[in-house]
């Protein structure tokens, strides 16, 4: 039997405001964003914090949305499922996403994340402008700007992990910390 209390207790201890596991659809994202806006209004969050969290949330969720299909195999759709959680800690929000990724795609993603993590604020600005203006538009429209934008807006390193599930897929976890701007001196 599923131990609901166990899951509840874990979420409570990690200060999870909202979590979802399943297929990520456009309609779901619309609802989640609406719910988070209402929650932040109810918590009387500072407008600056609300904007940062909202912006970063949009990028994280749309990353999931666009890459959900990437690890779907011919055996079925078990991999067409992802998880995300939003936690509110003292002075910061954490946005956590998890999804399957084909092992062959890990190297490319990891080097992109490491590239972004190696840059400082000014370098990120230059990199963003260069990618914005490189004339390439991915079919998904983002053109590789998402991670750069998240790093720029949060001023934090992208915290990630790849957990190998089998010889075909791994589970990719990304943790984004958004510090409440009024606490940055």
């Amino acid at each position: 039997m599923i131990d609901a209390f166990n899951i509840y207790d874990k979420m409570e201890r990690h200060n999870i405001l909202l979590s979802f596991k399943g297929d990520i659809t456009s309609e779901l994202l619309t609802s989640i964003l609406q719910i988070m806006e209402n929650k932040m209004d109810n918590m009387m969050e500072e407008p600056k914090t609300k904007k940062k969290v909202y912006n970063v949330l949009v990028e994280c969720l749309q990353n999931l949305y666009h890459h959900m299909d990437d690890a779907t195999d011919e055996n079925g759709d078990k991999n067409r499922s992802a998880i995300f959680m939003i936690a509110r800690n003292k002075g910061s929000y954490n946005i956590i996403t998890g999804n399957y990724i084909l092992n062959e795609n890990i190297h490319g993603l990891k080097s992109r994340l490491d590239d972004v993590n190696s840059l400082n604020k000014d370098q990120l600005k230059d990199y963003y402008k260069a990618v914005l203006n490189n004339g390439e538009m991915s079919l998904k429209g983002g053109g590789g700007l998402g991670m750069i934008d998240i790093a720029r807006k949060t001023g934090e390193k992208l915290d990630y992990n790849f957990l190998e599930i089998d010889n075909k897929v791994s589970f990719f976890t990304l943790i984004i910390k958004v510090t409440q701007p009024q606490l940055i001196q």
């Binding site: 407008p47 949009v58 990028e59 963003y128 914005l132 538009m137 429209g141 700007l145």
Partner: protein
């Protein structure tokens, strides 16, 4: 075609393009999953306008949020405006940002650095 208008939704902005007076306005949120599809009609309308542009073209951008998927499309819109500016219509882009929204101000400055059209940064109250 004298006017091109699109009503805003929770994920897409309100767009109004008054071709008669050369005034284009984009307001609200631009966070669609597929922004290429959303912006194509506007890019097409600007293409058409460029063949018969007014002596002056005013562009008001007042976005609350935009995602990275929109940012390349917005650059495409600005590149069309740059061509219209070169073609003889005096284009001004008024980039509005809310007081304290440094990210939105910086985003405007990024475009200003890339596009060769006069930009005005306009601060609005929250």
């Amino acid at each position: 075609m004298e006017k091109y208008a699109i009503e805003g939704t929770p994920k897409t902005p309100t767009i109004s393009f008054d071709i008669q007076n050369g005034v284009l306005e984009i307001k609200g949120r631009s966070i669609p999953e597929n922004s290429i599809e959303f912006y194509k009609p506007l890019v097409d309308a600007l293409d058409k306008y460029s063949t018969a542009s007014k002596p002056a073209t005013t562009v008001n951008i007042q976005l609350e949020y935009f995602n990275t998927s929109s940012s390349k499309c917005i650059l495409d819109v600005f590149k069309k405006l740059e061509a219209i500016h070169k073609g003889g219509s005096a284009v001004t882009i008024n980039w509005h940002y809310e007081e304290d929204d440094e990210d939105m101000l910086e985003a405007g400055e990024d475009y200003q650095a890339i596009i060769n059209v006069p930009f005005k940064m306009v601060q609005v109250a929250e």
